[in-house]
């Protein structure tokens, strides 16, 4: 059978991919926006709906960054409500492993799995910065080097908690007078570098056994963590060659953990623009990028590289003549710019000179273009080509508009993929593990692998 594509949807996030200035842009917080996007994804038979998280508002130059969407709800709370208005769609929450404790996270995810009939997923993320820590009891307690050891141990601990209830632990048998089966709930005891906990867990095993585990880190350590423990990788490698290299690298790591290539699905985050013709799609894509890079965002974008205040410069004028301050960063609370900023400035100056670009034009020119741009047919073909040539197992679509940003994808592209026989015409099972073709987690799986 032809390799089947997996599709997921990301709620438009707090970065400049999301266009808030469009008249069609709706509320980023009203439940109806979440409902619209989730039910659209379910209409398109998507595998899951994904919510990101950030536990402190981003800052630029010591003040709250105000140019992008700001503010979002707590992921699990909204997903639990979405479980009431959907029936099959997987529900993926991003939950931080640094500023949480395993007992609480394990029970919240097990709860979502029960309340959704087996549709819960957990995107395990880490932070280490004191900046985020200022909102929590422990502050910035974790060294950067330890963030993955904590994440790994956190996840292992959560799995022990989920496994501490046998699948048939709840007897609910009034005749015998047994609510719990003898031996159905085992005490847990976990002691390692980061955790020293024991006792009894208080949520029965969820329908999926364990929720689906998603991992997004891209470093060598992040890839190894995913190969050992994740069911899905949320990757950034959305270019064909790049995607194939990443795919090969990660899939090859699985054998060391006794896992098969199909046990870990690789889903790059992607964007898309459709048009009735290629030219129309390209034109719309350019319009959207212009809306994503407002004059103020263009200045901010350069400030992140220059490491200094550039607010005095005209976004429609030439690049700043001032030299970058390589010792300073201006932004906090999101993935920092890494790499040689001096080199980048030189490259950009050359590019701006060559093409006669203003600050804003340059910012648009060098920002990431949409992944898929074209007619529905062309986009469907490209998606299929990516997957069939092992650059991905599918995609996490990041729409640029709330709440209508998935509508045309679901209405125009999904039917073409279904026609090709590479994407489900309907759900074949009730759980997210069913959609992803993953085996249910049996309680002794960890012991087998260690």
């Amino acid at each position: 059978m032809t390799k089947q594509i997996h599709l997921a949807a990301h709620f438009p996030g707090v970065n400049n991919t999301t266009v808030w200035s469009d008249p069609a842009s709706g509320s980023q917080i009203d439940f109806d926006s979440f409902r619209h996007l989730a039910t659209t994804a379910e209409r398109g038979k998507f595998d899951f709906f994904f919510l990101a998280e950030g536990l402190r508002l981003r800052e630029a130059k010591g003040r709250i960054h105000d140019l992008d969407v700001v503010g979002r709800p707590e992921s699990l709370t909204v997903l639990s409500a979405l479980a009431a208005v959907t029936t099959h769609l997987g529900l993926a929450a991003t939950v931080n492993s640094t500023f949480n404790e395993p007992y609480e996270v394990a029970r919240r995810l097990a709860t979502l799995d029960h309340l959704s009939g087996g549709r819960a997923a957990w995107n395990v993320v880490t932070s280490f910065d004191a900046f985020t820590g200022e909102n929590f009891r422990r502050g910035g307690f974790l060294a950067e080097a330890d963030r993955y050891t904590r994440a790994r141990e956190f996840l292992e601990t959560a799995r022990e908690l989920w496994d501490s209830w046998a699948p048939d632990a709840v007897a609910a048998d009034p005749d015998q007078g047994l609510f719990l089966r003898p031996g159905g709930v085992s005490p847990f005891r976990h002691r390692d570098r980061h955790f020293d906990i024991s006792g009894l867990f208080n949520v029965p095993r969820g329908p999926q056994g364990h929720p689906v585990i998603i991992q997004a880190g891209d470093s060598d350590e992040g890839r190894e963590f995913a190969a050992s423990s994740a069911d899905v990788i949320f990757s950034r490698h959305s270019k064909l060659e790049d995607g194939r290299a990443f795919y090969r690298d990660v899939k090859r790591r699985l054998a060391a953990y006794g896992r098969r290539p199909e046990d870990l699905k690789i889903l790059p985050a992607v964007t898309y623009v459709l048009g009735d013709t290629e030219a129309e799609a390209a034109e719309r894509a350019a319009e959207i990028r212009r809306a994503q890079v407002s004059p103020q965002t263009a200045i901010y974008f350069l400030e992140a590289v220059w490491g200094r205040d550039l607010s005095g410069y005209d976004p429609d004028g030439p690049l700043p003549d001032v030299e970058p301050n390589l010792d300073e960063g201006v932004s906090k609370g999101h993935a920092a710019f890494r790499g040689d900023r001096g080199e980048l400035v030189a490259k950009w100056r050359a590019l701006a000179e060559e093409k006669n670009l203003s600050i804003r034009e340059l910012a648009i020119e060098v920002s990431t273009p949409q992944t898929f741009i074209g007619t529905p047919r062309a986009v469907a073909d490209e998606i299929d080509h990516f997957v069939q040539t092992d650059a991905a197992d599918g995609f996490i679509f990041v729409p640029h508009l709330t709440p209508g940003g998935l509508d045309d994808l679901v209405d125009k592209v999904v039917p073409l993929l279904q026609e090709k026989g590479v994407f489900r015409a309907d759900y074949t099972g009730p759980t997210l593990r069913d959609h992803l073709g993953l085996a249910p987690r049996t309680p002794n799986r960890i012991e087998e692998n260690s």
């Binding site: 808030w20 200035s21 917080i29 009203d30 439940f31 536990l55 402190r56 508002l57 003040r63 709250i64 105000d66 140019l67 992008d68 700001v70 503010g71 979002r72 709800p73 707590e74 699990l76 709370t77 909204v78 639990s80 409500a81 479980a83 009431a84 500023f99 949480n100 404790e101 007992y103 609480e104 029970r107 919240r108 709860t111 029960h114 309340l115 959704s116 009939g117 200022e134 909102n135 929590f136 009891r137 209830w165 709840v170 609910a172 009034p174 007078g177 047994l178 609510f179 709930v185 955790f195 020293d196 906990i197 024991s198 006792g199 009894l200 208080n202 949520v203 029965p204 407002s294 103020q296």
Partner: protein
């Protein structure tokens, strides 16, 4: 004035043998349909709100350790997520989950309850709860061992001191949560295309809380919710928790034994308000009662459950057995002690909940003391509480 009526939902009901009763649904306790059905029934009865119990550990009949019992309900879903799961299926009833103050992060609680308020369009509340159990401490491994709890709360000096700390920490937790709820002014989102700004950052505020147990910078990551300040309701049995409630809560649940005791407790709560310098609005005082309701022989039904469990039901709250009409009479009598409402704990679900909505409520409506339709959509408004402006908003 209308009487306020809430129902406390927990497992199969408040009797430990409730899951074995006729009509109980013990195999559905961890399914969404079970809870959706209960809350829909409560909404059909026009109740003010429902509460959801929760704790950071397995239920136990013993005060300080696990009891190993297999014959009672064990296991509990996260209450905030449970409340959120039923929110889109209801439209008027208030949803008040329990979330702890001892082992949790106030920041997470603040965004969870604010999100519940968004999802439910202004029907969220929060019941803050301390966790004094020594066996729960080991679930987190983050605090030194707790001393054993003393049933009376005030006889053992070591525990008394510890309890004082737990309540002081809880008061700080509520303060942090309330500040975070106010940390976005209502009109912070401006979407000003001319200046490229999504928000007016002068309307977002650091809360800069520094306390003995934690410091929290803020602002919240979640925009201000429909009610601004979701309802805070706490359970209290003694002077210390009365003072906590007077500082932190909008509603307090108390547990009088009888009418006379109700009078004394109301006096104590009002005295606590004075002691902590509380200003308006005053606490809404609800009395908790465990109820077994039947047209006849509710006491017999309860006694049979006692037999099954092997002990007579004990409770912090008064246990009522009788007809819905008799309960209506008792509520009207106790109300004269200065109570604004009652939180009823059904002995068996769904039986005693249905008896409340289909028996007690009509009796109270006939007496002209209970609403015949919902008037306000939001929970605060139902309790006569205005929507407060953010404490950080500059007076214009």
């Amino acid at each position: 004035m209308t009487l306020h009526l809430a129902v406390a939902l927990d497992g199969a009901g408040w009797h430990p043998a409730a899951w074995r009763a006729e009509g109980a649904q013990p195999d559905r306790l961890f399914t969404p349909g079970y809870w959706a059905g209960l809350v829909a029934e409560a909404e059909r009865g026009l109740l003010d709100f429902v509460t959801f119990e929760d704790a950071p550990g397995l239920q136990s009949s013993l005060l300080n350790e696990q009891d190993g019992r297999l014959d009672q309900v064990r296991g509990q879903l996260d209450a905030v997520l449970l409340a959120s799961r039923v929110a889109p299926l209801t439209s008027r009833i208030g949803l008040v989950p329990t979330a702890g103050t001892t082992h949790t992060e106030p920041f997470h609680v603040a965004i969870g309850i604010a999100s519940l308020d968004h999802v439910s369009r202004g029907r969220a509340g929060w019941r803050p709860q301390i966790s004094g159990r020594p066996d729960h401490v080991a679930h987190f491994g983050r605090r030194p061992p707790f001393p054993p709890q003393d049933y009376w709360g005030d006889r053992d000096p070591v525990f008394r001191e510890h309890l004082r700390d737990l309540f002081a920490e809880a008061a700080d937790a509520v303060e942090v949560v309330r500040r975070l709820w106010d940390s976005w002014e209502d009109d912070a989102e401006i979407r000003d295309v001319a200046t490229g700004r999504f928000i007016d950052r002068d309307k977002l505020h650091y809360i800069d809380f520094h306390g003995e147990w934690f410091s929290v910078k803020g602002p919240s990551i979640t925009p201000r919710s429909p009610q601004g300040q979701p309802l805070v309701a706490s359970l209290a049995h003694a002077a210390l928790p009365y003072e906590f409630a007077a500082r932190a809560s909008d509603v307090v649940f108390v547990t009088p034994r009888d009418r006379e005791d109700a009078t004394a407790i109301v006096e104590s709560v009002r005295a606590a308000e004075v002691a902590v310098g509380r200003t308006e609005p005053s606490l809404r005082i609800f009395a908790d009662l465990v109820v077994f309701l039947d047209a006849r022989d509710a006491a017999g039904r309860k006694a049979r459950l006692d037999d099954l469990d092997g002990a007579e039901l004990g409770s912090d709250a008064h246990i009522f057995t009788g007809t819905p009409e008799e309960l209506a009479g008792l509520l009207l009598d106790w109300r004269e002690a200065g109570l604004e409402g009652f939180r009823l704990r059904p002995g068996v679900l769904p039986h005693d909940l249905s008896a409340i909505t289909r028996g007690l409520v009509p009796a109270l409506q006939d007496a002209g003391v209970f609403r015949t339709a919902y008037d306000t959509a939001d929970l605060r408004g139902r309790l006569g509480l205005a929507r407060p402006a953010s404490r950080y908003a500059k007076a214009s």
